[in-house]
């Protein structure tokens, strides 16, 4: 088995000797212009185009390697600013890798300027629609007033109004989810330099009974981190035992805030 391919984890703009020091076992630092590329030599038995395609459909293999990808970048990130590469980016030769870096050096430099001194944090927000539905009258004037009408109506009319309320509850829950999602998003946005909104994931994927109502990544300047964390804690406390709750994870490598432009 020959380790003849170059797997790229990330790019750093720090001194190569520092990068080498951090990178340590199994990793190689390749210097190209002002950048240090953190790489590993891998075998074509695993990472040739054909074998990589086969391997990524093996979920165990993928999980192991995807986690390793992010762990290595995390380790480097603790000491220096990094531009993370997508999982499975492979170069056949050092020359072609260096050519790639040279071709995009302008854009890479701009990205380093954009992310310097900042961290990526992920915030997800969920709603327990069952709980919210049970206590909807506390949140919604409309359903509360309809409930009063139901109480004051004859059984026949009450039956029809209850059907109307069932429909109204769904609409009101949608409105409340949007309202709280937006409200929390705005709070975090105030403390961030950039925001990346991600798709809401279905319950089957999150493994939760609650519905995801916000999925966002925030690029937070280090000077605002303490306030950002305080906001997370404060909003979590406000919502203890409630229908809405948030989950924050980070710092992530700035995957969501890298944008590479074609050279002119």
């Amino acid at each position: 088995m020959r380790n003849n391919l170059i797997y790229v984890y990330c790019l750093s703009n720090c001194d190569p000797s520092i990068a080498q020091n951090i990178a340590d076992e199994g990793l190689q630092c390749i210097v190209s212009g002002n950048f240090t590329i953190i790489t590993k030599c891998v075998s074509d038995c695993e990472f040739s185009e054909e074998n990589l395609k086969r391997n990524i459909s093996d979920i165990q293999w993928l999980e192991t390697h995807a986690r390793e990808h992010i762990e290595i970048i995390n380790r480097i990130m603790k000491r220096t600013t990094v531009i993370p590469f997508k999982f499975g980016t492979i170069f056949e030769t050092e020359e072609s890798l260096k050519k790639f870096i040279a071709d995009y050096s302008q854009s890479l430099t701009e990205n380093f300027e954009h992310i310097a001194g900042k961290e990526e944090w992920a915030v997800k927000m969920y709603c327990d629609r069952k709980k919210l539905s049970d206590q909807i009258d506390e949140y919604s004037e409309e359903t509360a007033s309809l409930e009063k009408q139901i109480m004051a109506s004859s059984p026949g009319k009450a039956f029809l109004l209850k059907r109307k309320k069932t429909e109204l509850i769904e609409n009101e829950m949608d409105r409340l989810c949007k309202y709280f999602g937006q409200k929390y998003y705005d709070e975090f946005k105030k403390l961030s330099d950039s925001v990346s909104l991600n798709n809401l994931l279905p319950n089957k994927f999150t493994g939760k009974v609650e519905t995801m109502i916000l999925n966002a990544a925030f690029l937070v300047h280090k000077k605002n981190l303490s306030d950002f964390n305080k906001t997370v804690n404060q909003l979590s406390k406000e919502n203890e035992n409630s229908r809405f709750f948030i989950e924050a994870t980070g710092p992530w490598p700035p995957f969501s805030f890298i944008s590479i432009k074609e050279k002119q």
Binding site: L5, S48, L52, K53, I56, S57, D58, I59, L62, E63, A66, R67, H69, I70, I83, P84, K86, F87, G88, T89, I90, F91, E92, T93, S96, L97, F100, Y104, E110, N111, H114, A122, S194, V195, S196, L197, N198, N199, L201, P202, K204, F205, T206, G207, L225, S226, N229, N233, S236, A248, T249, G250, W252, P253, F255, S256, F257, I258, S259, I260
Partner: protein
Amino acid sequence: MDHNVIDQSKDITILEVLDRVLNKGVILTGDIVISVADIDLIYLGVKLMLSSVETMEQLKAGNSGQEQRFKIAK
């Protein structure tokens, strides 16, 4: 810094990891890079792992919103 509700590393789901390492970061091609079609295959794999049937389409639909995300950065 107050970290008590912030989850540093435990319980990061594989989906969350994949969502970042496959969809984001420097995405221009190396000599070999996983193609978009392959990513669909990966989600198929995740789908099988989680025994979900209907979410595949939703995730695929979600992927089409990808371009916009990159534009937000700069």
